[in-house]
Amino acid sequence: MIEARDVHFSYGPGPPVLKGVDLKVERGTIMGIVGPNGCGKSTLLGCLGGVRRPDRGRVLLDGKDVRHMRRRDLSRIVSTLPQDASYGFDYTVEEIVSMGRYPHMNWLEMSGGVHKGVVRRALSGVGALQFSGRAFSELSGGEKQKVNLARILAQETDYALLDEPTRDLDLKSSLDLLDLIKRENMERGLTFIVVMHDLMLALRTFKEIAMMKAGRIKAIGGADSVLTPGWIKDTFGVDVEVDHHNGVLRILG
C-alpha cells in the first residue's frame, strides 16, 4: 500500500501547493487522480514517488517512510512517468527502455543477460518490439508514450505513477495506452496511480478516483460516487450530466 498522511508541500517560499493530502492506494489497484490545472496533482505524484519531500506529513510505502529510503531502493519499488518525458540525443527505443533496468544494475553491469530479457518483454508488452531499433525522437506521440510505458514496465516496480500519460495523444492512442495500463494491472498486479484531467477518459478507465482541488482531496472513492455532477460542478465549475451505467459524461450548456 502507498499512503500519504497529511502531506503539505510548497515550492520554496511560495504559497502551499498541497494542504494536507490523505490518500491510500492498495496494491493491485488503479487509482485515477483528477482535478483542474494547478490543483497539485503532479506535486502529489512527486511526493508519492519520493522525489519531493513534504514540508509536513509523511508518505508511507508498504508501511515504510520514503524519507528514510535510499533513492536506488525506492526506484526498485516505485517508477514514475513525468509529463513530457523527452530525451536529449538520439537514443534508440531499446536504449531508453533499458534505462528502466538501471536501478537493478550493479556498478559495472551492462545491459545484457537477464536485463535484455526484461527489456524485450516490456517492449513486446506494449507492441513496440518492431521499432525497438529506431530513434525515439522519430516516433509519433502515441508510440513515444508506449515506449515510456515500456520503460516503466522494465523497471519492474510494484507501483507506477503516471502523470497525464495521454496528454498529447489523439483519442485512439489514448485508449490504446489506457488499455495497456489496465492489462498490466490485471496480468501483473502492477499498481497504477494515474493523474488525468480528462474526465471522460477517467470515467471510462478508473474504478477508483480521487478528485483534487486547490491542494486538497475533495472526494475519493468509486468512480460512481466521485464523478458526480455535484462534485464536478464544485471542483471544475462545469455543469455536467453523468450516466455511469453507460459510461457517458455530457457537458451541459
Binding site: Y87, G88, D90, E94, Y102, S111
Partner: protein, 344 residues
C-alpha cells in the same frame, strides 16, 4: 555484454589505427631527420625484452624517447581528457553545444594557473606544481559552478543561459588572469604564449601527472555513464531511476573540471576539442555514454596529436596548438549553430 551499434566497432578500430599513425607521424616530425624505420625500432625497443632492436645513434634514441615521445603521449592524454569531459558535459546538460572551454572550465583553470604561478614564485618545483594543479582545479570547478548557478532558473537549465553564462564567466576570468599577468608577472609575453596551448618541451614527469589523471578520470566518467544517460531524460526521470541527482551531478562536473584543469598548467588552454570529438563519435557509436566516452577518448587522443602535428608543420614557426584547435573547432561550432533547426 553491452549492445553496440553497428558502426561502433569499426569506428573504434579506425580511431585506434589513427591514434597509432598519429604517434608515428608525431615522432617523425622535428628538426633532426630520423628515418621512419629507425623510429619504429626505437619505439619497439621500448617494449620489455626488446631492448636490442635499435643499435643506431644514441642521440636519435634520446631525441625520440626524451623529446618527441613525451610530447605525443601528452597530446594523447590531453585529447582523452578534453574529449571525455566534453562528452560527459554534453550528456549531463542535454546539449551538444557544450564543452569545457565554452562553459568556462578552461578560463577558470587558466586563472588558477596564473595565480598559482604568481603565488609559487620561488617555491620548489614539486610543491609549486602541485599547488598550480590544485589551484587550476579549484578555480575551474568554481567557474563552472558559477556559470551553472547563474544559468539555472528554478529546476530548469535553459541552454542559452548556460552558454551565455559560460561566455560571461570565461570573459571575466580571462580578464582577471590578463590583469594579473600584466601587473605581477615579469615576462608577460611568455606566460600568455604558454596559455595559448602547446605540447612543446613536455617532460616525462609531466606526462606522469596528466596521463593517469586523464585516463582514470575518463574511466570514472564512463562508469558514471549510466547516470549521465539517465540525465538525458531530465533530472526528474534520473531521480526516478535511482540516481542521487545532486551528488551524481557534482561528481560528473568535478571530474570533468579536474581532468580539464590538470592539462592547463602543462599545455595551456586548448578549446573546442571537447565539443567536436563527442559529436563525431556519437554519429558512429550512439549517445550511450558508457560507450561514447571511451570512444571519444580514443578519437580525441589521435585528433590532438594530429592538431599538434599541424601546429608544428604548417609554418616554420610553431603555431600554438590552441590556435589550431580554435580554427578547426570554431568553424565546427559555427557549422553546428547554422545547421541547427529550431530550439530544443
Amino acid at each position: 555484454m553491452i549492445e553496440l551499434r553497428k558502426g561502433a566497432l569499426p569506428f573504434m578500430a579506425g580511431s585506434l589505427i589513427a591514434l597509432l599513425l598519429a604517434v608515428l607521424v608525431g615522432t617523425l616530425l622535428g628538426p633532426v631527420r630520423i628515418p621512419p624505420p629507425s623510429i619504429l625500432r626505437i619505439l619497439l625497443s621500448l617494449l620489455p625484452g626488446a631492448g636490442g632492436l635499435f643499435d643506431g645513434p644514441e642521440g636519435w634514441r634520446t631525441i625520440i624517447v626524451q623529446i618527441r615521445l613525451p610530447m605525443v603521449i601528452m597530446g594523447i592524454a590531453v585529447g582523452i581528457a578534453l574529449s571525455s569531459s566534453g562528452s560527459a558535459l554534453q550528456g549531463l546538460f542535454r546539449n551538444d553545444l557544450v564543452d569545457p572551454f565554452i562553459i568556462g572550465i578552461s578560463a577558470g583553470g587558466a586563472l588558477g594557473w596564473v595565480i598559482g604561478n604568481i603565488v609559487t614564485d620561488g617555491w620548489a618545483y614539486a610543491s609549486a606544481t602541485a599547488f598550480k594543479v590544485v589551484f587550476s582545479f579549484l578555480l575551474s570547478l568554481g567557474s563552472v559552478v558559477l556559470a551553472y548557478m547563474i544559468a539555472r532558473r528554478g529546476s530548469k537549465l535553459p541552454i542559452s543561459n548556460l552558454l551565455l553564462a559560460g561566455i560571461a564567466v570565461s570573459a571575466l576570468f580571462t580578464s582577471i588572469a590578463q590583469v594579473a599577468i600584466y601587473l605581477f608577472v615579469d615576462n608577460p609575453a611568455e606566460m600568455i604564449f604558454s596559455l595559448m596551448g602547446g605540447l612543446g618541451n613536455t617532460r616525462w614527469h609531466e606526462v606522469a601527472i596528466v596521463l593517469p589523471i586523464s585516463v582514470l578520470g575518463a574511466a570514472a566518467l564512463s562508469v558514471l555513464g549510466r547516470d549521465i544517460n539517465a540525465f538525458a531524460a531530465g533530472e526528474g526521470v534520473a531521480a526516478h531511476l535511482g540516481v542521487e541527482v545532486e551528488r551524481s551531478k557534482f561528481m560528473i562536473i568535478a571530474i570533468s573540471a579536474l581532468i580539464t584543469a590538470v592539462t592547463i598548467p602543462f599545455c595551456g588552454v586548448i578549446g573546442f576539442v571537447g565539443l567536436m570529438i563527442p559529436h563525431i563519435a556519437r554519429r558512429f557509436v550512439g549517445p550511450d555514454q558508457r560507450i561514447l566516452i571511451p570512444s571519444s577518448a580514443l578519437l580525441g587522443g589521435g585528433f590532438l596529436v594530429l592538431c599538434d602535428i599541424l601546429s608544428r608543420s604548417i609554418s616554420v614557426a610553431v603555431i600554438p596548438l590552441g590556435m589550431i584547435t580554435g580554427l578547426i573547432g570554431g568553424g565546427f561550432f559555427l557549422y553546428l549553430l547554422a545547421s541547427r533547426r529550431g530550439v530544443r
